[in-house]
């Protein structure tokens, strides 16, 4: 069966689009009817995840008000473009780090802070809990990752115990949340945002498969009870058909180090990234950049043959790959190959030479 696209919005409901805030009672089937409302409207959504609050030593007491994971998502014309915002970014409007904006002034202040940082309009917000994220990851059957080295970390106070061996791993929802919370490697928070991008793209891909829909629908109905959002379920249901074929690209807001532990927006780099990210038009012929194919031998050879037909010479590398994706700093060049292979484009913070296309076993599943 070819990849299935359609209930994408079910998972977008958590990661980009929808949900219902403070529903007065548990949502029952039949209580909400979808509105048939044409194509997906263009909108900017701030999606953030609330960290766990600690009432005392060793005593987690539910979702906290700090949001360490913040994305600005622009939905437009069959495409979702998401920009990760580093949590240590200094926000003048919040009077501190941007991850404290939600605690200081709720979703409205967080939206203003994101607008200030990106210069883009944020109409809507969707604030998640880690539990709801785990539920949705479980509903799509977990995610696959590849670790170059073991991932180990113990924070007894935070009750965070991470112990993943190196290699190809299948993670359930709870493990995926740990994987996304880990930041104790050389690139710290940037690497964490790159891992989150990888998980989001996998969840969206898996949500295209009708087999995940019943479980996903259940998970989202549960999750909706915990969400803080100004998107209604009617809106989400209304636009289900319009998200068929939705394409995803993910980048990070460029920042530079500054006073103390604050980060500041790198205005020069931001202008370049936003121009490419928002106004990106895909090149009609293959961009002249180095292209590297990574993955299992047969897949890499298939990819090499496909690219040869396009007149593109590539470097090939046999490697274990978690899930297929295209990685590039140059969003236009990366977008060309993401389109060609029908894969998500992930612009990582870590350096990438040219375009790297990773082909994993998910391609032939």
């Amino acid at each position: 069966m070819r990849p299935r696209l359609s209930f994408l919005l079910l998972s977008l409901a958590l990661f980009a689009l929808g949900g219902v805030l403070s529903w007065p009672r548990p949502l029952g089937e039949g209580e909400v009817r979808s509105l048939r409302a044409g194509p997906l409207p263009e909108m900017g959504v701030v999606v953030a995840a609330r960290d766990i609050e600690y009432c005392g030593y060793h005593t987690p007491c539910g979702p906290g008000s700090r949001t360490d994971t913040i994305f600005y998502v622009r939905i437009r014309g069959g495409e979702a473009r998401a920009l990760a915002i580093p949590r240590d970014l200094f926000s003048p409007v919040a009077g501190g780090k941007i991850n404290s904006a939600y605690a200081r002034g709720g979703a409205e202040l967080l939206k203003r802070a994101v607008e200030e940082a990106t210069g883009l309009v944020a109409e809507r917000h969707l604030i998640l809990t880690l539990e709801s994220v785990a539920r949705v990851v479980d509903a799509v059957g977990g995610v696959e990752v590849y670790l170059d080295r073991p991932m180990r970390y113990t924070d007894r106070a935070a009750k965070l115990f991470i112990d993943f061996p190196a290699g190809r791993l299948h993670l359930n929802g709870e493990e995926a949340v740990k994987y996304m919370r880990f930041r104790h490697d050389a690139l710290g928070d940037y690497a964490r945002l790159d891992r989150i991008k990888g998980v989001i793209s996998q969840v969206l891909k898996k949500a295209q498969d009708p087999r995940t829909w019943p479980a996903l629908a259940l998970a989202l109905r549960e999750a909706w009870r915990e969400l803080d959002t100004d998107l209604s379920l009617e809106e989400v249901l209304a636009h289900f058909p319009a998200v068929q074929g939705l394409r995803l690209s993910l980048a990070t807001l460029p920042t530079r180090e500054g006073r103390g532990t604050f980060l500041y927006v790198d205005e020069g780099a931001k202008a370049q990234v936003l121009a490419a990210w928002m106004g990106r038009t895909l090149p009609s012929s293959p961009p002249q950049v180095p292209v590297r194919l990574r993955g299992e031998r047969e897949l890499v050879l298939w990819g090499q043959a496909l690219l040869a037909r396009e007149g593109v010479e590539v470097q090939v590398e046999e490697a274990e790959v978690g899930r297929s994706a295209v990685y590039a700093k140059d969003l236009e060049a990366g977008g060309y190959f993401a389109e060609l292979f029908h894969l998500p484009l992930l612009a990582p913070h870590q350096p990438v030479v040219g375009v790297v296309v990773e082909l994993g076993p998910d391609l032939v599943e």
Partner: protein
């Protein structure tokens, strides 16, 4: 658009099997013209969760006798069961779930077969 004979036969067989167990409101949709990635859906309602399970068992058993097995599914719900036979995906739902998720409404432009 040319229909795949095998898929169309499978749709007809599934509709028959669902009819044998008194499934309600059985509808088959050809989604190929309205979706990049979906082919055929067969939708049917069950009057209760036990009826839903009976429909699921019957379709699985009878198609299993012909060597057809659905692709494994991660999780199910008491109100909605998906059987994925590749080009043909069967959605068995309670009437409430059927109305709530309104798959026919999502693909209102799809040809009914």
């Amino acid at each position: 658009m040319v229909k795949t004979l095998e898929a169309v036969e499978l749709v007809a067989r599934i509709k028959d099997l669902l009819g044998e167990k008194k499934a309600e409101n059985v509808v088959a949709l050809d989604l190929r013209a309205v979706s990049d990635s979906l082919d055929y859906f067969v939708l049917a309602s069950a009057t209760s969760t036990p009826h839903l399970q009976a429909l699921e068992r019957h379709v699985e058993e009878k198609l299993g006798e012909a060597g057809l097995r659905p692709r494994p599914t991660e999780g199910q719900s008491p109100r909605w069961v998906v059987l994925d036979y590749g080009e043909v995906v069967v959605h068995l739902m309670t009437p409430e779930a059927r109305e709530y998720y309104d798959l026919e409404g999502f693909w209102a432009d799809a040809e009914r077969i």
